[in-house]
Symmetry: C2
Subunit: 267 residues, 2 copies
C-alpha cells in the first residue's frame, strides 16, 4: 500500500543558520521503513499565519504530517495553538499531563509558562515524552513533536506503533569505485526506463585520500524489482570497468566534505 508523509520543521533557529537540522534524516529513514515515505519537508519560521497555512495545505496533500519544534514553555513556542487553529478546535487542559508536570515541577515552580505545556487541542492524543515530560500530540493526521532531536526521537518511538503502516521502502546501494557519473549516465538512464516504478539515484563521492566513485541507489516498494534494478546496476558498473561494492544505504556520508580543500573533481 502506498502511503505518504510530509514534515514541517518549525523554528527561526533553523532558518537563521543557528541550528543544524538533525530531525529530517532520522524521520526520513524511519518513515521509509514504516512504508510512509517522506515526500516533502518545509522549514518555516515561528509565525502564526505561516504555521497554520502550511499545516492546512500539507495535511490535505499527504496521508500523515509530522511537525517538530515550538512546543516548549516560551513565547516563541506557538505550534500547539496554531495546530488547534488549523483544525478549528480550542485548547483545553489535559488533566493527566497537568498532574504529571505539577508533580515534576512542584506546585511553587509550576508557573503559567510551564502550565501552557499541559494544554492540548481538543481531541488530541498525547505522544509521551520520557525525557522532558511535556508531551507532543496527534490530532487527525498531524503529529506534533519537540524540536530537540533527542526528545523528538523518544517521542517518535512512542508514536510509531500507532501509525498506519504502508509497504516499506527498500533501498539497495552499489558503490562504483573509480568511475564518474558521466561514465554511467547513459546506462543508468536505460535501467531507470526499464523500471519506472523504482527510483534510481546517482551520488558522486570524493574522499581526500584520492578515492572516488559514484554511489548508485535503487529504491522502491517492490522488493523483487528493486533487486532486479540493483543487479542491472552492478552489471553496468562491471561493463564500464568499475569495481562494484555493495553497501547499506549510508546514514552518514562516507566522509564529510566540509573541510576539504577546493580541489578539482570530475563528473
Amino acid at each position: 500500500m502506498q502511503r505518504t508523509s510530509a514534515l514541517i520543521l518549525i523554528g527561526n533557529e533553523i532558518l537563521s543558520g543557528r541550528t543544524q537540522d538533525e530531525n529530517t534524516q532520522f524521520l526520513a529513514y524511519q518513515l521509509g521503513k514504516l512504508g510512509i515515505p517522506l515526500q516533502e519537508v518545509r522549514m518555516i519560521p515561528d509565525t502564526r499565519e505561516i504555521i497554520i497555512r502550511t499545516v492546512v495545505e500539507l495535511r490535505a496533500a499527504f496521508d500523515e504530517v509530522f511537525t517538530t519544534g515550538g512546543i516548549g514553555p516560551t513565547h516563541d513556542d506557538i505550534t500547539t495553538p496554531c495546530i488547534a487553529e488549523a483544525f478549528g478546535v480550542s485548547l483545553e487542559i489535559h488533566p493527566p499531563t497537568f498532574a504529571l508536570l505539577e508533580n515534576h515541577f512542584l506546585k511553587e515552580n509550576f508557573n503559567a509558562a510551564r502550565q501552557r505545556m499541559a494544554y492540548l487541542p481538543q481531541g488530541a492524543i498525547p505522544i509521551a515524552n520520557p525525557i522532558s515530560l511535556a508531551p507532543g500530540f496527534s490530532l487527525g493526521n498531524v503529529h506534533v513533536m519537540a524540536g530537540v532531536p533527542r526528545i523528538m526521537r523518544a517521542m517518535f518511538e512512542n508514536l510509531a506503533h500507532r501509525l498506519k503502516k504502508g509497504t516499506p521502502v527498500i533501498s539497495l546501494t552499489w558503490h562504483a569505485f573509480s568511475l564518474y557519473e558521466g561514465n554511467l549516465a547513459e546506462g543508468l538512464k536505460t535501467i531507470q526506463e526499464r523500471y519506472p516504478q523504482i527510483d534510481i539515484g546517482s551520488y558522486p563521492f570524493h574522499c581526500d585520500d584520492g578515492i572516488y566513485g559514484v554511489a548508485l541507489v535503487a529504491r522502491g516498494q517492490e522488493s523483487i524489482t528493486v533487486q532486479k534494478a540493483a543487479s542491472d546496476i552492478r552489471d553496468l558498473i562491471v561493463s564500464k570497468g568499475g569495481c562494484p561494492l555493495q553497501g547499506e544505504p549510508l546514514l552518514k556520508p562516507i566522509k564529510t566534505e566540509n573541510n576539504l580543500p577546493n580541489k578539482r573533481y570530475s563528473t
Copy 2:
C-alpha cells in the same frame, strides 16, 4: 532594506534519509549576513511537476530563490530543464561552457550525458564552478547551484557579489547557565513585547557532563534595538539568579545530542 529569500533542496536522497543536508545552515548564515534572510526552505523530490510548481510559487513570494541539487549529468538531474520550463524559455547550448567541458573531458569522453551540462536556459547567467567545472546559473531571481556541499559553497562565493544586498541580520546570544526555559519564559515574553521588530529565541541545551542552560538569541536588522534587547535579556538572566555568558551565534550545537542516553531533562 528588507529583502527575503527561500531555498529549495532538490533530491530524493535527502527525502529518503540517505543524505544529511549540509546546505541549509551554510546558506542561512550567509544570506543573513548579506541581508537577504531565509524565510522558508523546501526539500522536494527529483520530480518534474513538483520542481516547476515549487519554483513558480516561491519566486513569486520571495525576492531571491536558491536551489541546490540536480544539475549533474545523470537521468535524475532534471533541475535545469525544469527551471527553463518554469520560466517558459528553452534550453540552449552555452558555447563557453561547452568549450570548457570539452577541453576538460577531451573529445572522446565528452559524451551526450556530459554535454547536457553545457545547456542552460535562454537568458541564464552562469555561476562559475571551480571544482567540477559544470556551472550553475541565475535566471531572474532564481539561482541554481550544485547539491554537493563543497561545490555549492564554491558556487555561492562566485554568486554572492552580484546579489542585491539588504540590511544585514545581527544576532546576539546570551547563554543562561543553570536556568530552565520555564524560569525565563515570562520575562522573555515581556522583552519580546517591548521589541516587536526583533526575534527573541530561546533554545535549551543539556550537556552530558551535567551542564545545562538556555541560549537566548536576539536577532534583527536594527543594530541598536538588537543590542537593547540583548541587554534586557542579560538583566533578566541575572535577576533570575543565572550566570550569563555572551557568545557568538553558534554554527554547531555546543554538543551533539545524538548519542546521549535518554536521561531526564527539564524545561
